[in-house]
Every structure is written in C-alpha cells, then in structure tokens.
Amino acid sequence: MGKTFAEKVLGKAAGEPVSAGQVVIVEPHFCMSHDNAAPIWGTFEKIGVKKVWKPDHLVFILDHAIPAPTDKHAENHMKIRQVVKEQGIRYFYDVTSKGGVCHQIMCEEGFALPGLIVVGSDSHTCTYGAFGTFSTGIGRSEMAATWATGQIWFRVPESMKITVTGKFKKGVSAKDLILKIAGDIKADGADYMSIEFHGPAIEEMSLSERMTLCNMGIEVGAKNAVCPPDQKVLDFIKPIAKTDQWEAIWADDDAVYAKELHYDLGDLVPAVAKPHTVDNYAPIDEVKGTPIHQAFLGSCTNARIEDLRLAAGILKGKEVAVRTIVLPASWTVYRQALEEGLIEVFLDAGCVIVNPGCGPCMGNHEGILAPGETCISTANRNFKGRMGNKDSFIYLASPMTVAASALKGEISDPREVL
C-alpha cells in the first residue's frame, strides 16, 4: 500500500515508516516567525533554556505592522532586533528593501524547499507547499518550545487528493479555483488534513498560482497543502536553496486518501467569497453590481508579479472609480513591477501603492474600512471586522476581478473588460 506525501515526509523525518493517525516527534528544518517573534521570545525565556536550538534554522521576517504604526509595535520590533543580535539569528529580514510579506520571502529566498518540514508562527505557513514543502502554522508557545528543543509533535494527517484537469477560461484564475473548493467543502472541510493537489492542470500552473492554492489550505482547515515538486519547482529552487538538505518527495500512485475530489478548470467562472466567511462562494453573476468603496490588491495570497501583471492589464490607460490600494508582496516584486512599468500603470489609474507588508489585509494599518463600507480584496480572509471595522464588508476575489471592480466602483465581471 502506497504512502501519501505527508506520510512520506513525516516518516522520513521520524526515521520509520508512518501512517495517518500516528503521532510522531520530528525536527523541523526552518522555523519562521514574523513580528510575533517578540512575544515568542518572552515565552522562550520562561522555559529556562539560554540558547535557541539552532540559530541558523530560525528565520525572522518583520511584516505584520511595518514600519511600526504604534509605539507598542515599535517596541516589539526593537525586542526582535535584540534577540537577533544576542542569539546570532542568521536569517533576519528587517524593515528594509530586502523584505516583504513573510510567506513571499520564505518562497523567494529559498527557504521553501521540497521535502523539508517548515513550521511558522503564522497560519498561512501552508503556502510553501507550492514548492513541495511540508509546511504548517503553529502557535507561539509551540514555536518557543521548538526553538528550545528543536522538536515538535505531529499527528500524521489523513490526506485529501484534489485532482485538477482542463484549462482556465478567459478571466478565470487560481483564486477562483480555491474559492470554489472552499465553497464546496466548507471552512472545516479539510480540518486536520493534508491537501494534495494533483493533475496536469496543476503542473501547467505557475509557482505563483500554486502558492495561491496552498496559501488558502488553512481556510478549509488543512494542516498543510502541497503541489508536486516537479521540474518547474526544481528549476526555481536550485539556484536559491538555503540548504541542500531538501529532497523531491511526492505521494505514491497507490496512496490511500480520506477523500478525493476532481475539478475541471474549464467549468470555473470568476467568483467571490461573500462576507463574512471564506466558504461563502458566489459566482460573479450573483454579486455583479454590488457597490464597493475600496479595492485591495495585495496579501500573501495574490500580490506577486503575475498577479500585478493581470491587474495592470485591466487598469492600463483607465482610471479607478474607488480608492484602490496596491501592495506588492515583497520589495523584489515591487522592483520588478517598477521595471515592467506596472507601478506607472497603477499610479496613472489613480491607485495608491503601499509598502510590502500585512497592514491592510488584517486591519492593522494602511487601509482600514469605515462603518458600512465594502471592500473587494485579493486577500484570503473576509471575517467580520478583518479589515478593522466590524460593520464593514469584505468580498474575496482574484486580481482580475478586483481590478475590474475597481474600475467600475462595483463588483464586476473581469471577462467584460478583458
């Protein structure tokens, strides 16, 4: 009987064959923390250990509230800089033009590698599955414990196999697929599970699109989500890999799955998740014409160069009807968008460009909504109050749908402007 991806990776790390349901204790390769490295350090100190287990395996990336919007945030950042110095943390991305949204940096900078176990004190750590990484979000206490011991326990998850075939029609993209999946299986549809994406359509997708899919694995409750480490992944990671410890691992053909689903991309249409849950799916026809007050093109889900190109393609030579915030996922993406003339397109269209970070997506700063306002967003969560006001409304959509909606000031079908 074959093994799933999760069984193989966790089995390798545990040093013995394992099956779903077993509890294993393993050593993760990289441990990522963002601004919450500060409180994690506080917990770490309580354990009574003086040094972190391996300072070269910790990655700190400031992104949640940068540059610091309040003195409290500034204090946390200061604490982190102290810890980096005292502990000799090798990988630290401060508030500089080398940084960006933590998950984007982890992938751009060669930390997300096939077959590695990577944990992060952020729920969207599952994004790295796009590179064949077993990556999952953990809490702060658990991260502190991992810094101290280099060990973490996992229950080997059951797996869900999602096979994807066909081709996207015009105006449809990976975001529309994952919103449809969330709508179908619901917010707890993959609770505790490992989601594996299979099929020719996944292999045809760019790494950026795969990141969009894996990023939202947590929105259906998954422990991790993963795509095959194919040639596209290997070509990308080889020149940038931060370690040579990786290994391309994939599920056996005869692996056993708790659930199997199939999607044909040709069946999909542009779609949204309506307020206030990610699984509140609606095809664009149902919500077209809904007035909006803000459009947001950003987040770890959809703010890579590929996403900005799609949006710019729609906005070029036109003007937005509502305030539109563009947030490239990293300064590398920002720079490339500058070089390609996309930033100029956004500025000409009347958009506001903000620095890479998490600000607007989680209502920290840079784009909080007023009571009664509606935002269409490329992010991954539309929970009530997510963007800072409990009486506001968030629709999640693809970069193309967000751009088309920004132009009209109401939720719009991108197929009509392409």
Binding site: A38, A65, S121, E142, F383, K384, R386
Partner: protein, 175 residues
C-alpha cells in the same frame, strides 16, 4: 485539571467562530495574556458585551470548527484568563486545538452540539454541569445532556502539566 463537576452559565455561539471574532487583529500587539480578556468577542454579533458580562466559571458552547483562522494564542488566553474553565464545541480548528492543549487549557469535542445549538436545545444563559473527566455535559435549565470525547494520551500529559512549556520543564527536570 480539577476532578470536581463544574457548574456555570452557557455562552452559546454558532459554527466557524473565527479567531478574528474571538480576539481581533487590532489588539495583537498586546503581549500580556491577563490583559486580553477585555477584548474577547468584541466583534461577535450579539456578544459585544461578553467581555463585560462574562463571569468566572461560565462556559463557551459552540458548533463546528471553533477557532478557525489565525494561529494567534490570544484567542486562547482571552478566554482562559476570563476564567472560562473549558470550551465546549462540536469540533475545533487544528491550530486552536493545539494552542489550547499547549497552554494547558481544556477543550472538549462534544457530539451533536452544532445541531443542538441550531435547534435551541442549549441556549445562552442555560445553567450547565460539566464533568471533564467523563466528558459529560448536562443542561440543568432544560434537562438535555451531551457527551464529549476523551483527549488522547500525549495531549492529556501536556495538559496535566499545565501546558507545553511546563511539560518541557518537567521533562528536563526528569519528572
């Protein structure tokens, strides 16, 4: 964990109660767990006064997928330090469950709770009796009873130690 039967009032919530609703993003910079209860459920419709009105010993009662969303532990601390002895839900999101265990905070998976809430079989303000060891819940107000699942061994060890950090300290001390 105490053995005695707990008694308190129910605060009843629906399915998919997300971490933003339990503890909003805007207070994430707070690092003192004891200051977190004042922000609990600030954005939850109909529960805006929860933080002011909750009493030590009250219970959280919810449907499926409680604590979905973010990995923030604030969503555990804000209930733990409000004196809520246990969260009763039909199911929990993976990260919330781990965060609870790792902080020595009991959560109980209770069969059929989601439908019971929808059917009005357990309501806000009902007086509950909870036997944590046996996983039994009795609604004294209307006589309905519910049954929860026992926690697995490793999790129970961590919880009994008072959380992951305490558990590691005990292990290091060779207990």
């Amino acid at each position: 964990m105490e053995k005695k039967i707990l008694r308190g009032r129910a605060w009843v919530f629906g399915d998919d109660v997300d971490t933003d609703l339990i503890y909003h993003n805007k207070y994430l910079a707070e690092t003192d767990p004891k200051k977190m209860p004042q922000y609990s459920f600030e954005y939850y419709p109909g529960k805006e006064n929860f933080a002011k009105e909750v009493k030590e010993g009250d219970f959280i009662v919810a449907g499926t997928n409680f604590g979905c969303g973010s990995s923030r532990e604030h969503a555990v601390y804000c209930l733990k330090y409000a004196g809520i002895p246990v969260v009763l839900a039909e199911s929990f999101s993976r990260i919330y469950y781990r965060n609870a265990i790792n902080n020595g905070y009991p959560v109980l998976f209770v069969n059929g709770l989601s439908q019971a809430i929808k059917d009005g079989k357990i309501k806000d303000g009902d007086e509950l009796e909870v036997d944590l060891e046996k996983g039994e819940i009795k609604d004294i107000t209307n006589g309905n009873s519910f049954h929860g699942d026992a926690v697995a061994d490793l999790e129970m060890d961590i919880m009994k130690a008072g959380g992951l950090i305490e558990y590691l300290k005990e292990k290091a001390a060779g207990k």
